[in-house]
Assembly symmetry: D2
Homo-oligomer: 261 residues x 4
């Protein structure tokens, strides 16, 4: 499994940033490269999004890239919720969903189409996978969102001087913009999903999973109901577990099977 | 010259971050380590701050660390102006000036006192060196600031919906807080310098340099005059040059001589 | 868990090399650093040796460094068997057992004594842990060797033009020197152990483990018998398992408990 | 300038190795990627070889990759002289000249033909560029060799127990094989050049340069005369200078102009 640490100048963030990649293209099994990646059958690509406090490479799923023969791209989006803020250089959505997808496609001989380009993440990265995937349905064909931090409906209750256990008002304001209207704006994946549905365009396929003891379980159930109410097809799994690596190591394997098998 | 790339969890930024170091402790000249770094005479440490759009390691000064036998610590502060913002996890000043200094001192057998711990930078990092050094005079004994982005007096003219050639209102607001009062608050190095002076505490020694064709020359001259008016000792150099690497490669050598010779 | 990637010039290998470290010194649990690492109670250090075809960082044991509060140093010794060859710059034993131990002690505020400095490895690295630990009993207080490639007695049967399933005659010759006499020379950990025993000096404590289905099980049993015959105390464990990560992930935890609990 | 640090499993070296790349594909000048790299006009690639004691990335030529729009691939070949030794896993020539060229072409959307794939190096890497380029004329269209360590004719005078100022007999033996016959075998670039010439196949274009005060000047002059005597076209430059970075920084620019202008 080849491992890449890459620095490039991001126009979206207005500075040099790093991301990481894994490509199962250094096989010693004698299978010729062309079997696993050719211009006719290019290797699929999974954009894998870290959670709050995390970074690229701190969550490497076990063995799935070799098993299903796909590359993993791991951006660093800091604690941004993968959203575009108002400030110059705070364009994390653009960085992950446009710039980096294009950069990887231009740089590497990998998949070029949404049929072969998927996005997944956990916690804040689960939110990011849903939001980024629905914002760029022409780039991403499938979304897998684990234990997603679908907190956008709670933001209206966070006021100047306040916050919640995770962060303060200013933090959420920088990520989501005006908190009182966030749930009605494009920072809410539901808004993107409904608009796509109404437009008649193809939505990415959606896979969601959450642990039944996860503190975010009700948020995930609410999203599940929302998608059902709007007749938006999706796979939804619950299983015993909390908001931790044990759950994610188990369910990323299920997600990979759903995406690649 | 040994080179270190280090990831650690920053409580100030609420996420795993990277910084880089250079330590001239892999000499092949037969000089025993103890000559260059011992508990009696620990190796001095220079915190070196990058500019806007830059990152750790993209500006490695030529040969000075070996010549004067000091370690270089290179934080990544993104485009933050090395300041604490209001949002959770936006504590760049605390990260560089407190957390990282302490982390390096706890982790490495290097200097422990302000007599042996210096800070330098260019452009936004020149501002950062002045501001951070004056905010933590108990940690930093000397400041070297090249072509410093001393723009704090211009901020009151940036209004919502506006900006300047570099960035928009929201960007400056996230870095500096309320722009109309920024010049009177602690984000202005002058405020810190005057308070220190009045308190009778020792200020760090200060070295400033700017190119005569630099677009920031008048900002640097204004700071120079301010320090003179307040009888704050400092070295101030001007030389032919613009806001570029040619000037910095020349003047970091002068700064190193001033700091270490 | 802080992660370090370090380049330094190795006099033993006559070139710039890399190694990696993990130090659990970026805790967010509020426990002050001094509780976990102070000059009175410095943090212990484990040198962790990779196997044939491996490299630093490709085997990171799960959670033990945080649990028992020790640093991990991971050298890159290529496919050298951690031995000094005859050629200039082929001093892998010296690099790991002398140079790197000293470099880490000089550079980091970590343990300085063999009571706090241990060595462990798997497969070729298990051989390396036994050999390096027994070669430097003044540096290493404990040895943990998993599924060790204790192949030195088989080398006399490898002749020019020949080899075995792993490598050819020239490879083994470059690692071990004259193959016909290797078992009687210092490249054999048994030779080092017996000499230490006879000298009356303290041997490092020894922990060995091997899977019962491992192709190296008889080699490990032979070493176990040898140590018993020479009244050299050691812990020896066998357990169901083959020569793979499943066994190592389980037994490195047992080894850590034996070393640090 | 994007920077890549890449680990992959090398079948030639039988272990995971690292190499580095620079690709000028993160431009902020508004020029569309397709202008600089397209399937019709793919970006050219330069394989850049380090010297004895060096490694990938410790010699980054100034500004030429952006200026002429080419990618740089920097292998790590340790102190191997870029040759295949007899031992298993000592296939440095194969690693650089076959495996890595193919790996880069398979992985990155860059040049696929010898018309667009060049090789350059300094000192031991100058030898490597000449040797590897002449060994693989179907892969490399141009060779630039600076201050090349063309020492193969001196090897016959190094005997067991002996050596020279750089290394001992065993070291040269592991790199070059039997030293008494090295000059007549394929480890001598002259042998490769003459064979290619006689076969009527196209040789790579050759650029050589050496400082007049370099201790290797006579070795380079001898190679120059040899090529002249065999009517092998090549560019040969001498200039004031010794065996140091000052000369290489100046002449890599001349080499780049010769290769890319």
């Amino acid at each position: 499994m080849a491992y890449f640490r890459i620095e490039y100048f991001s126009n979206a963030l207005r500075r040099t940033v790093e991301f990481e990649m894994m490509i199962p293209n250094d096989r010693s099994d004698g299978v010729p490269w062309e079997k696993n990646n050719s211009s006719d059958h290019p290797m699929k690509t999974l954009f894998l999004l870290h959670g709050y406090t995390g970074k690229a490479g701190n969550w490497v799923p076990p063995g799935i890239a070799e098993k299903y023969n796909f590359a993993i791209v791991m951006p660093n989006a800091e604690n941004s919720f993968y959203l575009n803020g108002d400030a110059t250089g705070r364009q994390y959505q653009t960085m992950v969903g446009e710039e980096l997808v294009d950069y990887v496609r231009h740089t590497f001989r990998l998949a070029l189409t949404p049929d072969d380009t998927f996005i997944a993440g956990l916690s804040m990265g689960g939110f990011g996978a849903l939001h980024t995937g629905l914002a760029y349905p022409d780039r991403f064909g499938k979304i897998a969102a684990l234990s997603s931090a679908l907190i956008v409906h709670e933001l209206k209750d966070i006021h100047p001087g306040g916050g919640n256990a995770v962060a303060n008002y200013e933090y959420y304001r920088e990520c989501f913009g005006d908190l009182s209207t966030a749930a009605e704006r494009d920072v809410n994946p539901e808004v993107l999903a409904v608009r796509l549905k109404k437009s008649g365009r193809k939505l990415p396929d959606i896979f969601m999973a959450c642990g039944t003891e996860d503190f975010l379980i009700e948020n995930n159930r609410a999203m599940h109901r929302f998608l059902e109410e709007h007749n938006i097809p999706h796979e939804y799994l619950e299983g015993k577990g909390i908001h931790d690596m044990v759950f994610w190591q188990e369910y990323i394997v299920k997600a990979a099977e759903w995406m690649f098998a």
